[in-house]
């Protein structure tokens, strides 16, 4: 065995034969081959092999293939048409205009109904607002006659006459128009919820007090929270005379940015009428009992029983009078549930934890998380591992068979043709 050293590797000789070398390298290899018989043989072998492969010929492509792709027919024609159309400036312009118009029509189709709905909703809202304003102006005395007669006096007169009325009659009293009396407005207990974010909390607080004073209202409850490192918050339940509710709410809204607003109106007309009727009956009962006590004579036991009954009826009357006052107060004074939040500004002076402390905390948290993850994996494996293992064992063999079959098919499919 002898060793011959050549300046070029066999692969370079092959690349030279294939024309894959640069001009300089080609020149150098060519010169070397001219002098080295061994390298010349290597080059000749490569050329010979390629020539030998020329014997592997394939038949001519079928003529029908050409027919399918002849211009002007089938796929080629349709594709060319598409290309031509796509490149035509007029066609593209038309497509652009049509797309724009379609988009505009779509936009209008979506927008116009919304606009109409918005307009109708605005009209409705203004109508409702007008009605509410009218109701509010009447609500201070729901049964007050306009301009003169008083429903309460009406009730009183009837009570004096001792007339007992059915429920239908009561309903009539409330809802039906009577001669000399305009339609009485319903009794409505108004409730408003407001959430407002203010920039200057202290100034807003002062303004709130001023608003209450200006509208003769008061705060039924008020709570101010000033947590550390967070925005201050005020929660209050305000009572405002019903006629001044709209103005007061408008002034409150001006304090800052309204985040949430909700208005509620509970009609208590029926409740009030029932209460008045029951009150009248109880008073009449009380009067009759007092008459009995005054005019009749009898045993002491009977007298005591009548006195007890008078006391019970009196208690009921007082309770109902209290309920009546509360109800009327709810109607006369609207409730505003106010939430006033300060726009939070981070305090520059707030002491931040030191870097060391933060590092320590993050390290502890990191280790804890890692440990919990590890524990989770172990728990999962102990819980599901046997099942997974079982299924792997069951499926491994058929999967391997299928995979090997697929690979074998792939290898056979990549064999040579003719």
């Amino acid at each position: 065995m002898n060793t011959t050293t050549h300046p070029f590797a066999p692969e370079e000789i092959m690349a030279f034969v294939d024309g894959e070398l640069s001009a300089e390298q080609t020149q150098a290899v060519s010169s070397h081959i001219g002098q080295c018989a061994e390298c010349a043989t290597v080059a000749a072998n490569h050329r010979g092999l390629s020539e030998q492969m020329t014997s592997w010929r394939v038949e001519l492509a079928p003529a029908r293939l050409s027919d399918r792709f002849s211009a002007g027919t089938g796929e080629v024609a349709s594709r060319l048409d598409v290309l031509k159309r796509r490149r035509s400036p007029a066609f593209r312009y038309a497509i652009g205009v049509a797309s724009g118009l379609a988009a505009l029509v779509l936009l209008l189709a979506i927008a116009i109904p919304n606009l109409l709905r918005s307009k109708m909703a605005a009209n409705e809202a203004s109508q409702i607002a007008r009605q509410r304003a009218e109701e509010t102006s009447k609500i201070t005395d729901p049964y007050s006659p306009v301009p003169s007669a008083s429903p309460r006096s009406g009730h009183g007169e009837r009570a004096d006459k001792g007339e007992a009325k059915s429920d239908e009659e009561k309903e009539e009293v409330i809802h039906s128009p009577r001669p000399g009396l305009t339609l009485a407005a319903p009794m409505i207990a108004r409730t408003v919820s407001l959430s407002i974010v203010v920039k200057e909390f202290d100034a807003a607080r002062v303004s709130l007090d001023a608003i209450l004073a200006r509208h003769n209202g008061y705060a039924a409850g008020l709570n101010v929270a000033t947590p550390q490192g967070a925005a201050r918050m005020l929660q209050a339940s305000l009572r405002i005379p019903a006629p001044q509710l709209v103005a007061a709410v408008a002034e409150l809204k001006a304090l800052g940015r309204v985040e949430n607003e909700a208005q509620n109106g509970e009609e208590v007309t029926q409740q009030h009428a029932d209460l008045l009727a029951r009150l009248k009956n109880s008073r009449e009962t009380e009067l009759r009992l007092q008459d009995v006590l005054r005019t009749r004579t009898g045993k002491v036991k009977d007298i005591l029983e009548v006195e007890e009954e008078i006391a019970r009826v009196r208690g009921e009357i007082e309770q109902m009078e209290a309920e009546q006052q509360t109800l009327e107060h709810r109607v006369n004074f609207a409730t505003i549930d106010l939430k006033l939040a300060e726009e939070y500004k981070a305090q520059l002076s707030s002491p931040a934890p030191s870097v060391g402390m933060q590092l320590r905390n993050s390290t502890v948290n990191g280790f804890r998380n890692a440990w919990e993850s590890l524990l989770g994996i172990v728990l999962f494996l102990t819980e599901s591992g046997p099942t997974v293992l079982l299924w792997l064992l069951i499926l491994a063999f058929p999967a391997r068979l299928v995979w090997r079959r697929y690979q074998r098919s792939l290898a056979m499919g990549s064999s040579v043709g003719v």
């Binding site: 492969m53 056979m412 043709g417």
Partner: protein, 230 residues
């Protein structure tokens, strides 16, 4: 981009024409940047014209590449009908992709890349059907074909090569692709292409000429150091 395209087209037109036929050639790869002698227009320019809607350009491209693409498939699949179908698919894919064509590479590489993708899809589909649905793979029987004895030996020898080596050898010998084009097509490093091609040729030569003494001084041998053959 436009300048580069112009330069590419001009260069390709300036280069000598090299027929893209079935005959392997020892010429370096001027075929990759060629212009047809009859029309004098490069493949890339024809493709650009076709993408603008020229049917003549497509006809010319089809006439240039119909046989090479058919041969590409015919050497890799068992039946001529399959080769015909795959050739058709390749040109249909070309038609569909025409609007998006950008001459970043040679048209020839582009077309063979399409063909190669279609071939791989075909092989996967066939293997899948064979593995899961029991379809029989049609394996060619060289002895039943009308072929010379020499070509029979070549085919049998090529079939015994490792698949990737075989693919590289076929692309080089019959499709006349350069090393760089093969590397691009098969997503391999250039040096890998060269070494695998060398290995394939060595193996093929040993298969074709078993008495050629693979370890003789005439045959290229594994190299210990550069140029040193034992």
């Amino acid at each position: 981009m436009q300048d580069a395209l112009t330069a590419l087209v001009l260069n390709s037109e300036a280069l000598p024409q090299h027929a893209m036929d079935e005959t392997p050639s020892r010429q370096p790869n001027p075929a990759s940047l060629r212009a047809d002698a009859s029309t004098g227009v490069s493949d890339e320019r024809l493709m650009l014209e076709f993408s603008k809607g020229s049917s003549d350009a497509f006809t010319e491209l089809f006439s240039r590449y119909k046989q090479p693409i058919y041969g590409f498939f015919r050497r890799r699949v068992a039946e001529s009908a399959q080769a015909e179908e795959l050739t058709q698919e390749t040109f249909v894919a070309l038609l569909r992709a025409a609007a998006r064509y950008e001459p970043r590479a040679l048209f020839r590489t582009y077309l063979y890349a399409i063909g190669f993708k279609i071939l791989r899809a075909h092989r996967r589909k066939t293997a899948f059907r064979a593995a899961f649905f029991g379809d029989r793979l049609s394996v060619p029987d060289p002895s039943k074909r009308d072929a010379t004895e020499s070509s029979l030996w070549v085919r049998r020898a090529v079939e015994k090569l490792e698949p990737m080596d075989r693919e590289i050898l076929l692309l080089r010998e019959f499709e006349q692709l350069s090393y760089a084009e093969i590397a691009d097509l098969l997503q391999l490093p250039l040096n890998t292409v060269r070494s695998r091609l060398f290995r394939a040729r060595t193996a093929l030569r040993n298969l074709l000429e078993p008495n050629a003494a693979p370890a003789t001084q005439n045959a290229p041998q594994p190299i210990g150091r550069k140029g040193e053959r034992v």
